[in-house]
Symmetry: D2
Subunit: 346 residues, 4 copies
């Protein structure tokens, strides 16, 4: 029997991407897609790529309808999931939040960066950070998963082997990251208009970005030491794709071959991480539409300086695809179901 | 002595384009740039390309300040200029409206398409339609100029020689037009986000678009006969540029050479229309940033079917550049001052 | 047992798109991917989106290897397939040519437009034009399928219901078409560089384009009358997507509702044609990566003028997807296998 | 009397950009535009933006014609200028090379990176590195100027105040740079096709790039100490624009205000460097088409880590615009003539 799935707030880009992936999933059935604003109108009128795939209208969010689901995704703005999750969990419904409500364990840090009071601190403690490459077994047993941010996914996967093995100076890590504009969501705003963000490139939030503490938290746990990388995001004149260029300094002697071997071994059994041959330059388009983090490790000039290049599709491995991967784990399904297609190139 | 210029509503794309052109104009001085919403903030904080060129802040619109100008541009939404123009004219200030308030002579038609009541019908009669290639002498003597729409500029200039000489069937004219997204303005709207309008192409407003009656009016006057072309606009995934592909049927026998000669002769003395050699395909990028309409005329298969290709930069010859051209005429300046630079290619 | 598939010339965009689709096809196995130039190098070194999906290197083309296949795709330049097809057919291998070698029945016309002598005119007669919506049963029984051109697919499907039912004037049909640049292939050429074709729009080949006789041939067969539409292609500053804007004149009285009903009924059982509700504007992004032709029919101003809007992904329904659809039919497989995923939006 | 100017190899992007700027220059006359391949064909047939501005055809390069010029620009591939420059200098013609022939003082380093033997090492010694903000007086007196590379211009100007004042650790400087694709030139190559480089982002040449030794040379001279920054270039899916994100570690205590003041003071009298207010994020579009380097300095988290953001148009301040600036200096003209226009935004 198919598992029943609900999506709260499916009028944004992570919502439609969940729908795109889930309509091809043989083991689940979408029974409830909510939107307060668009209740009553057909989902495929807003997203015509879904015509013929999804015969549903948006409904107003209701605890009753959502509680009938086996699992509910929150594809909502920050601060929404934290208000309804307890009710759903109590009803036996599992929850994956694609926003940031349950990502940061330190409530004070969360409240500072997200500018609001947390509505359910107890659940923050319970929530599992949904990076399968780090927390797979916990995710399998979780009722509540905090789906990682897009930048944190690309950055953390890129640095994990180095940090796990204590190979780099924990100070001085730099994450110079670049994202397509779909990461900013489907809100009407001047700065993400095509006429503003197209044919243009800029850094933003250099003074501080919410994904920095999320990255710092995960890396610090892994290192068992405080790590606070410099994080500078930039906006790319394109829709999908994140490229992280990661700079670190080796704290030990190591050959390029060793590092290559380290990365290859670390991710050998990971279905959604691809370590390219030495000397490669991963391209964002190679993961367009695919649930894949593709990376390469460099040591320019053969110095102690390491440069890791890591790419994802921010809407897939950086959001909806990773959420489906987590759902598969939480529901005891095959981890890669509905996530098996190559990227769209060109 | 420099002429004093004011711009009302300079926070949109036609506004900043006026500023870009006028800061290099040796004979004028911008003394007043208004924005109700941004009064008090520096213009170059919003438009950093102007840093070092314009030492002004936005001010709230005031009749007094604007009346001190020799000429005022309205770069406002439709329906604004019609409320203030009479006051300015009474004060001896000339006016160019870049919106549509004074373009359509038939008030009933205007009110139908623009969905509001006209505030100053008498001025509609006085206003000169600011297409210099058609109305140059009237513009020189005008107090009030209705600057043409972007599509109408490209379409009308492309068809003018055929219509003036009675060479085509007046029924069956088709204008298949494509525009960059800056034509939609600098408003926060979902459908012009980079993530929506980028990497995408679609038609819009096939049922009817406001620029159709404007084109029909001008061509009908020229033909001394009713013309109502089919007009289908499309949205291009880029910022600047309009390409009109115009289809008509010759009503007389004519050779390609004759048509080529007709177009070349018609525009031989026009500084801002360029007729390319037979067989050419004008590109929007060749007029990027330039006050130029570039065109080519074809007769595929040597039948009676004529295809005219016409390109402009919608923000320059389709808006701000043509407005500066009109200003030069109205103020008795050299018509091409501040408009002499080639397009930015690549 | 899986069917054995070969692809000749898989270093271009239709080739990699065939691979993208076929690696997810449960009933076929790719056993041979040829490239004279890149023989010996891994396919996924050239197309990293396929890393993990295809463990093959390019091989030099050989009749022996290809004859071992159940079906071979030619994703080669024009003029290649016609030289090898007879040998493959004689060996019992079915053939789908994605180039134009077998599309045009009149050899003289083909030779004029393609500028070479045809090497196997007899096979042209045998070849079935691979538009399933028109020739499904013939395709099922074919040994040799000529896969339609990209523009002809969008244009023909858009006009078919009108022409089949004799509703329009056969003279005066206009196909104003716009294509993403991947249609020009993966050849190093100046005019398709990002710095040339990006941020730009232009018409090309207004004097004549090879797809015009292909469209004319199909429509003329359907109409049982000569049809030679005006065909003007344009180049879009994006990678994938074709939008055809089709203009025709009704020769009979008809209501919009009747036309809408006509189209809906004609394509009701077609898995890969989607007729949108009246008043819609299909977007190319809604079919990005999907084997779908999406269309809408308009009658602006309620005159006799019909405007049909038709979009496809030129690499999918316009090339590789349609070829897989044809393969499914020729091999007796379910027609929609490996073609069932929604478009990638945004 | 106007100075006579020649351009060798004007069929590339730096060539057409020189032409775009020089046709508006009141003090010079272009008398000779060479191209071996296109000799005899009109310049404006290749670059239609110049129609009406330049009534010249390409000619085959000839020492005689070029020696009649007051100044000749080489907009040629690396290795061309070094063969002809001595002849021109002997004839009293000044030379600006936009390629790399005279940029690197250490011949062995040059030969290693550029893969050929240097044809005129003596001239390398004489050549002045054409960064006016560093070498203005030398440029005024130079016969031969090596116009800086695009990346080196953005990076060097961004770091200059810190290095000149000895404020940062000389080890550990990182230049993470991103460039539009016009920097790769107007050569037919697969990897810069729109269908390859569009809608995509990647790093390249992480193992080593020719601009690294050029940056290292300039900074080392300024620091009077060896500096070898890590340099990682990336390719942006757009045509024009470079963004350099520069990371360094303060070696002294300093306040943000001090750094801001340092930069503002350093560039106060520079017409083509703009230091933005603290907290700003310069955008590449703000310098599109303009001869300007715009920058901002940050200290995220108020640590000793400095992040400088620096943008240029690679074809203007990064190539042709800077070359015209150098020409103005070498010919005793006003430095900013023909370079005074704001960037094209949007």
């Amino acid at each position: 029997m198919k598992r029943k799935i609900g999506i709260v707030g499916a009028t944004g880009y992570t919502g439609v991407e969940l729908l795109r992936l889930l309509v091809s999933h043989p083991d689940v059935e979408i029974i409830c897609v909510t939107s307060r604003e668009h209740a009553g109108s057909r989902v495929d009128a807003m997203f015509p790529n879904l015509r013929g795939y999804l015969d549903l209208a948006f409904t107003a969010p209701s605890d009753e309808a959502l509680s009938a689901c086996d699992l509910v995704f929150f594809a909502t703005p920050n601060g929404v999931a934290m208000k309804s999750t307890q009710t759903l969990l109590d009803a036996g419904t599992k929850v994956i939040d694609l926003a940031a409500d349950f990502r940061i364990k330190d409530i004070a840090v969360w409240e500072k960066w997200y500018g609001m009071q947390h509505a359910s601190p107890a659940l923050v403690e319970e929530a599992v950070y949904g990076l399968p490459e780090l927390n797979r077994e916990h995710i399998r047993n979780a009722r509540l998963v905090a789906n990682p941010g897009c930048y944190p996914t690309a950055v953390t996967l890129g640095l994990l082997p180095l940090v796990e093995n204590g190979l780099i100076d924990l100070e001085g890590i730099i994450a110079d990251t670049k994202s397509g504009v779909s990461g900013a969501g489907r809100k009407a705003e001047v700065h993400t208009l095509l006429a503003e963000a197209g044919d243009n490139f800029k850094a933003y939030a250099v003074a501080g970005h919410r994904h920095q503490p999320e990255i710092a938290q995960t890396l610090s746990i892994v290192a068992q030491n405080a790590i606070s990388p410099v994080f500078v995001p930039h906006l790319l004149p394109m829709i999908r794709g994140i490229h992280a260029t990661l700079y670190a300094m080796l704290s030990v002697d190591a050959e390029q071959a060793d590092l290559q071997q380290l990365y290859t071994a670390r991710y050998a059994n990971e279905p959604f991480v691809d370590v390219m041959p030495a000397g490669s330059h991963p391209e964002t388009r190679s993961v367009r539409g695919a649930n894949m983090c593709r990376m390469a490790i460099h040591r320019p000039g053969n110095t102690r300086r390491v440069v890791v290049l890591s790419v994802i599709d921010n809407l897939v491995k950086g959001a909806a695809g990773q959420a489906v991967q987590n759902m598969n784990l939480m529901l005891g399904l095959s981890e890669h179901t509905a996530l098996q297609h190559p990227g769209l190139l060109p």
